[in-house]
Symmetry: none
Subunit: 252 residues, 2 copies
DNA sequence: CTTCAAAAACTGGTCAGACCAGTGGTCTCC
DNA sequence: GGAGACCACTGGTCTGACCAGTTTTTGAAG
């Protein structure tokens, strides 16, 4: 194995084992090179590897620092192999929405087919709560409504996959409602879409429900695309991890 | 921003957008350095960054290659929170197929829209290989064919999700072809479905491709359901882990 | 002609030393 | 005391050389 790899592993282990605390400064490249008896180029390659992995951050003129990713906070095991795709690639967000469009549609379809009395009750409850437009907690209510429908599909795989996708989104972008609702006319459109979806599911009309759900996601997706185009800084990457987790947990 | 960062970003983007296919070789460091007008050291640092985040793999004396963003690098065994759903619940297999039906359809749709010349070539190759019916290695060829189409969708999220689902299936049940092909008339039907799917994608007919893909998955699903009903012990859970991994890797 | 091993021409991995470019402290000089 | 020059750090880039695997070419032996 290449020396640079060995060094990057050693450093990563050192960091993960707590030998180097977050925010702590790493010795300078020249120091490391001397101390480890290798050239500076090798050190730089090793550091770039750790950088790519998000373990350290490097600032010109200052030095390299252990990234502040909370060491033990990975309760639900979250360094999805997909996650790295997002860093700096907002395009992936739309790939995500593309898939969601399909799956939310399917979920709505199945929910309209399979929802039990209890499901209908839960969906109705979530929908009613959504109508009392409390702009601040709106995001989680929105989440709750969609989740109720997805769960009514009685397909655990679908529930799991959609939940994963939603969690990924939360790491890269504020929930759609948070961005879109401020614009009054958009809010109204979304409310109308929710109502259509709701009624189709409750009425047991799979095709209508599917159509409403896909249209909804597509609308959100296109709205985001427009916002991005218009220069709005929609994407906020490296989002605070705990906040995202907390939100996700609350929505469940 | 540092030049090495810009380069790593550009390369990653190129890969994600499909300009460079998985397993494809990246130009040599010296070539890149010359072509981009920078020193080789910078190229190496950029490549190490991509290496750190698993986008490429580098082999001494051979070159650097785009990592299939699918790989067994993700030890699907331990942490997949879905995995426990399967224990004793063969029904989940059909939930899985239900979702796959939708997503394979979408993948085919997008592939028909977006496939590049290179994609078409890879798909054709996989399809041709599939026609030389070697019953034993048929499963992995089948996998390879579908994977080629999915990757041609140029939606990394879709690729990732479908691959996860497929891996899960491999843990609970023998691949569909292994079960279905022994019956000659079924084999013929599947071959015909593959051909329809193939032609629709190559011809650039999204709607037809989607229809063919969903019909194929649904057919397989229903065939399995029938087999199960007829008393065949279709489901074999806790399947040997290494075998599943090996299969999954080979399919790539 | 074919075979096969040596040699050449690739590939990435490492090294050395130089210089450029940000950062921050010190130490004048007003 | 404050402003600015200076200097000693830091990382960023370049050059050109050499080592170490891999593949291709080549050329002599059979």
């Amino acid at each position: 194995m290449a020396i640079s790899q060995e060094i990057s592993y050693r450093l990563e282990r050192l960091i993960l084992d707590g030998g180097l605390a977050p925010e702590q400064k790493i010795p300078s490249e020249r120091q490391l090179a001397t101390r480890l008896g290798v050239s500076r180029a090798v050190i730089r390659e090793a550091l770039h590897e750790l950088q790519g992995r998000g373990v350290i951050e490097t600032r010109h003129g200052k030095g390299s620092f252990v990234a502040s990713m909370v060491p033990g906070a990975n309760e639900l095991g979250e360094q999805s192999p997909l996650m790295h795709l997002f860093e700096g690639h907002p395009r992936t967000l739309f790939d995500l929405l593309e898939v969601r469009e399909q799956l939310e549609g399917q979920a709505a379809y199945l929910a309209a087919q399979r929802a039990t009395r209890l499901d209908r009750h839960r969906i109705t409850k979530a929908f009613r709560a959504l109508e009392d437009t409390d702009p601040l907690s709106n995001a989680r209510l929105d989440h709750g409504f969609h989740l109720a429908i997805v769960e009514a599909s009685h397909n655990p795989v679908l529930v799991h996959v959609l939940n994963s996708l939603k969690n990924m989104m939360l790491l890269t972008v504020q929930a759609s409602v948070a961005n879109l609702n401020p614009r009054e006319e958009m809010r109204k459109k979304i409310v109308r879409q929710h109502r259509q979806l709701y009624e189709a599911v409750i009425a047991g009309k799979p095709a209508s429900a599917q159509k409403a759900a896909t249209a909804h996601v597509r609308f959100v997706s296109e709205a985001m695309r427009d916002m991005e185009k218009d220069g709005g800084t929609l994407i906020r990457l490296p989002v605070n991890q705990e906040a995202a987790n907390e939100y996700s947990r609350a929505g469940t």
